[in-house]
């Protein structure tokens, strides 16, 4: 029984990892040079590095999304928050002489304010998360457009350029930022009581209230954290193109983030979340995108191919499929056992 449980848990972890490796291998066989990594100007250069580089914004958003989903919530507004924080970064850089760190702090602060707004709607006014965050999803892009006056505001700042495209110890700086955030989140969620409480609230609000957990504050803090992650992602995305594109920055990114969390095996009904596997989920999505772009596939097939592969990955991970597979193997084992023992 115990062994079976171990196997079960292992499978859940293995499925996304296996899918990722499979996708990379298949792409490598289709696109020659996909796996090659060279050193150019003292940093790594290649499609695999691109995947990490391009995956950072989604990874950051997915981290925040995972925590929110852990509380049995969802945050649809992250794409809009990305647009807002990018707009704030660009407009402050262009129109003021403020030092870069202050600009970044302002952008992050605005993101946390957006998160707080969501958190208050969800935890104080008990509005369903999907509805509460939908409000900011729609309004937020409008706010960003107001900040940029509908234009793409381009800026120049060495520090922001470095955040968008610089390298440190052979890897993109933004990848280091993401790794830092991942470790921080892991420590908070796994090594402190806060993480336990958040998942407890998501799994069973009433039970956690009965043991004396203050659910409101926890839920609110989850949304603030998601806002912070989205804002950080927004700064990186704006720094990447050296401009704030309020109409398009982070558009539909919330869906990729939710998908990554689900690919990692979390349930939208709250409870247990898997942070590292969420990052694997992000990498699966980004590998697919990069692979499709390098493969030379006609543009109109992009989405269909992506959707088909994602569906395949989800099917591989579905508990039913796992049951069938393990059932199949167990039968085989039994059959083998039966034949060897007389």
């Amino acid at each position: 029984m115990k062994k079976n449980h171990f196997l079960h848990k292992h499978q859940k972890t293995l499925a996304p990892l296996l899918s990722l490796v499979l996708i990379i291998l298949i792409t490598a066989s289709v696109t020659p040079g996909f796996l090659s990594i060279q050193v150019v100007d003292g940093h790594l250069f290649g499609s695999l590095v691109d995947i990490l580089h391009r995956g950072t914004p989604t990874a950051l958003v997915a981290l925040g999304m995972a925590v929110v989903i852990g509380t049995r919530g969802i945050d649809l507004s992250v794409g809009a928050v990305i647009a807002i924080s990018g707009a704030v970064t660009a407009v402050l850089t262009v129109n003021t002489d403020w030092p870069v760190w202050l600009v970044i702090m302002c952008a992050l602060g605005v993101g946390m304010l957006c998160g707080l707004w969501n958190g208050i709607l969800v935890s104080v006014f008990s509005i369903q998360p999907i509805v509460a965050t939908l409000i900011l999803m729609v309004a937020g892009r409008g706010i960003a457009q107001m900040i940029t006056e509908g234009q793409i505001v381009t800026f120049h700042s060495e520090v922001l350029d470095a955040i968008g495209n610089g390298y440190f110890l052979a890897f993109p700086i933004r990848v280091w930022i993401a790794i830092g955030m991942i470790i921080l989140t892991l420590v908070v969620m796994r090594k402190t009581a806060l993480g336990l409480f958040i998942e407890a609230v998501g799994a069973n609000v009433r039970a956690s209230r009965l043991v004396g957990i203050e659910a409101r504050l926890l839920v609110m803090s989850a949304y603030v954290f998601s806002g912070l992650c989205a804002a950080l992602s927004g700064i990186i995305l704006a720094a990447d193109i050296r401009g704030a594109d309020a109409n398009n920055a982070g558009l539909w990114l919330e869906l990729d983030a939710i998908l990554a969390v689900v690919l990692a095996g979390a349930s939208l009904a709250g409870g247990r979340i898997y942070l590292l596997l969420t990052i694997v989920g992000v990498l699966i999505i980004q590998t697919l995108t990069t692979a499709i772009l390098t493969s030379g596939l006609p543009a109109q097939y992009n989405l269909v191919v992506k959707a088909t592969i994602i569906l395949a990955v989800l099917l591989i991970q579905s508990p039913k499929t796992r049951q069938w597979v393990s059932g199949f193997f167990l039968k085989k084992q039994k059959a083998v056992k039966g034949s060897t023992t007389p």
Binding site: D41, D50, R54, I241, D245, L293, N302
Partner: protein, 328 residues
């Protein structure tokens, strides 16, 4: 029918009155020049919204043209909603304007309101986009021909490279008419040159971020700029993103890879002035002039083409600095 005529009893009357007044004027005062007559022109303009810099400059250009001619322009911003546009057109009809400019947000669903305008004898001029309705329901469409823009880009590139070029293409959003037609126009010209081929083509969704990401993948897939002679981007924003990708890969845009794109947004002129882009074709936002002229022509009873093509010129780096200063 019944309900319509009861709902809008006034436009009929006012249109008739206006016609009578115009006829009296032109009979009694033949000395009155067209411009003096034109000063009386009241035109309604239903704009989609202000979602892009280009649309904002289109709005401003049409407003400025109306002011220059001394017309009374009634402006309505639909905020991307067709129902708002239909309301605006109905209110223009009720006010008995002399003509309506309509930049339709979608192609379908205009038949009814166009019929209402026709019954009130008010000519409707479509601005920068078409509709899927019987052409007899509107006076004309004033818009660029995306195919000609693509063809112009290809012709310029062919002349520039003596018809020998490996091209990478950044397409617009899949399925958009701008992307489809610009590609068709471009392809139709390069098909005449056996040594001009599109080696890679992907959608960058008309955005800077999209253009940058796709260009990065092109450069990886082609192993740098050695095999790429030129980039054709369906809009300037994607070209600007691609230029960033080239610079980060240590490639000199416009020198190692020729960059040609469409739209003529201010930032592409800056890139051209900095020697990072080679050519852009203007998506002409100055549609007010031809639209007002069409309304005047129809008032005089002259026939008007169903599509007045208002294509913009191709700009090169030599005038880029001046153009940037003008447009900033």
């Amino acid at each position: 029918m019944q309900s319509l005529s009861t709902r809008h009893p006034l436009p009929w009357l006012s249109a008739f009155k206006r016609k009578a007044v115009v006829t009296t004027f032109s009979v009694l005062l033949p000395v009155l020049s067209a411009s003096a007559l034109a000063a009386d022109l009241t035109v309604g303009f239903s704009q989609i919204g202000s979602e892009s810099g280009w649309r904002t400059s289109e709005t401003e250009s049409i407003k400025a043209e109306a002011e220059r001619r001394g017309y009374d322009l009634k402006f309505s911003d639909a905020q991307q909603k067709q129902e708002n546009q239909i309301k605006a057109v109905r209110s223009f009809i009720a006010q008995g304007v002399d003509g309506i400019l309509l930049a339709p947000v979608v192609e379908t669903g205009w038949d009814q309101v166009l019929k209402e305008a026709q019954r009130a004898n008010i000519p409707v001029v479509l601005i920068d986009r078409g509709v899927a309705a019987d052409p007899s329901l509107y006076l004309t469409k004033v818009a660029s021909d995306f195919k000609e823009e693509g063809a112009l880009a290809a012709s310029w590139l062919a002349a520039q490279t003596n018809g020998r070029c490996n091209i990478v293409e950044l397409q617009g959003s899949v399925g958009s008419s701008a992307a489809i037609d610009r590609k068709t126009g471009f392809d139709s010209v390069i098909s005449n040159f056996p040594n001009m081929t599109i080696i890679r083509s992907q959608s960058g969704n008309f955005t800077r971020a999209g253009g940058k990401e796709v260009m990065e993948s092109f450069l990886k897939a082609e192993g740098g700029a050695k095999n790429i002679c030129a980039l054709f981007a369906h809009n300037d924003d994607m070209a600007l993103g691609a230029i960033l990708a080239m610079k980060e890969a240590g490639i000199k845009p416009s020198k190692d890879i020729i960059v040609v794109s469409i739209d003529a947004v201010p930032d592409i002129f800056k890139a051209m002035a900095d020697g990072e882009a080679n050519a852009t074709i203007e998506l002409n936002p100055h549609l007010g002039g031809p639209a007002f002229d069409a309304i005047l022509a129809s008032q005089k009873g002259e026939s008007v083409d169903k599509w007045i093509k208002a294509n913009g010129p191709l700009y090169l780096p030599d005038t880029a600095a001046a153009e940037y200063a003008k447009r900033k």
